[in-house]
Symmetry: C2
Subunit: 217 residues, 2 copies
Amino acid sequence: MLDAAEHLFARNGFYGVSVREITELAGVDVALVSYHFGGKRELFAAVFRRRAEILNLERLALLQEVRGSALPGIPALEDIVTAFTYPLLERSARGGPGWKSYFALVAQVNNSPEWGPVLMTEHFDPLVEKFIAVLREAVPGCDPREVYWGYQFLTGALTLTFAETGRIDKLSGGLCRSSDLDSVHQRLPRFVAAGFRALCARVPPAARPPRGNSRRR
Amino acid sequence: MLDAAEHLFARNGFYGVSVREITELAGVDVALVSYHFGGKRELFAAVFRRRAEILNLERLALLQEVRGSALPGIPALEDIVTAFTYPLLERSARGGPGWKSYFALVAQVNNSPEWGPVLMTEHFDPLVEKFIAVLREAVPGCDPREVYWGYQFLTGALTLTFAETGRIDKLSGGLCRSSDLDSVHQRLPRFVAAGFRALCARVPPAARPPRGNSRRR
DNA sequence: AGTGTATTTCAACACTTGTTTAATAAACTG
DNA sequence: CAGTTTATTAAACAAGTGTTGAAATACACT
């Protein structure tokens, strides 16, 4: 039942799926969703929660491992980002169709003004705070705001990847495939780490060279 | 009517809004959506199309301007990215509530497996191809796949910004606000440009150092 | 065995969904 | 002004919405 809901919610979102579609796909009666979960919204939340906890444990363990193997120094930005993204990319690539659906669902929830602030914050923010704390250690002296913005860019890039809309396939004429998450694993941490360094190396606005990006015309 | 639909679709997506809600907010009869647009789906597409054309003209003009002012050289990556993002960020920040809703809608559509491949590709890909062509000139010798992936990361980061879910507000304890698009304008091009350079400077997989990001454990 | 609880089934609930039909009003054309 | 097209209205359509109640079944335990 959770599997059926996961599959359908990932395709058409919360409102785009009826409880009857879910229960029919699961082969159970319509009334069971109210009985077991309390309602459609609670089922949606349960779908979201189920795998979130697994991921958080895995990501936290990986973060600690990265930290530990860097001692007594500070881990490289690439390795921190990898600890953040690898468990997700790995599950989506080789965890089976359930995981694939789940991440497509996360991609939608993260960009939804209705569900994003609720579900994402509730299930992932405690872990994200830990990551940001380590990221800040990796860019000492950097304004924390740069790290928060950098994190936002990272999440955006990552979640769009999970959507696997196939858009990059068409754009690149088949050169890249949105289902090729290994390619993302090889590129995203490097991309993001370089972005972080660029943000933190930024000169203050007053002293910026004239042809910078904040002015135009 | 398009305004009402835009506002509501941006909040709850295509399925989360009924035609009656739209027509009541617009102060017109329910039948008019079928009469004027042909149906709910066509109305949705019309909402999406309306502002897309305006944006594309503006972005293309800015891209040409950036190219022209760099002659006989090649424009900097930061300036190309800015030409891509500035018209959007500017409209969302100061274009009025309609534009704000529109970009929130784009954020959802872009991450939707149902609408993304249809609407985004149809309305934005012709322009995106032009941008990618210029980007490739700016990183000569770079494998085009790196550029496509870099573009995907850029779009992901940008569209999540448009969602303005307020998540970064909570994470940062109020230090950053997701509505502060000027901050994004100041950071995203630099972040992305550095990311592009890192991707293109990448050594081939075989010769990569052992503690790189593609292996773990 | 049989009793008590937990789960499942079926049918119905009141309500909303998008779209259509025919009648009316408005706008435009010659 | 008449004649025609275009736009708006109100009512109804059939199908689908999430949820609920009582009856039926399954299960666990002494």
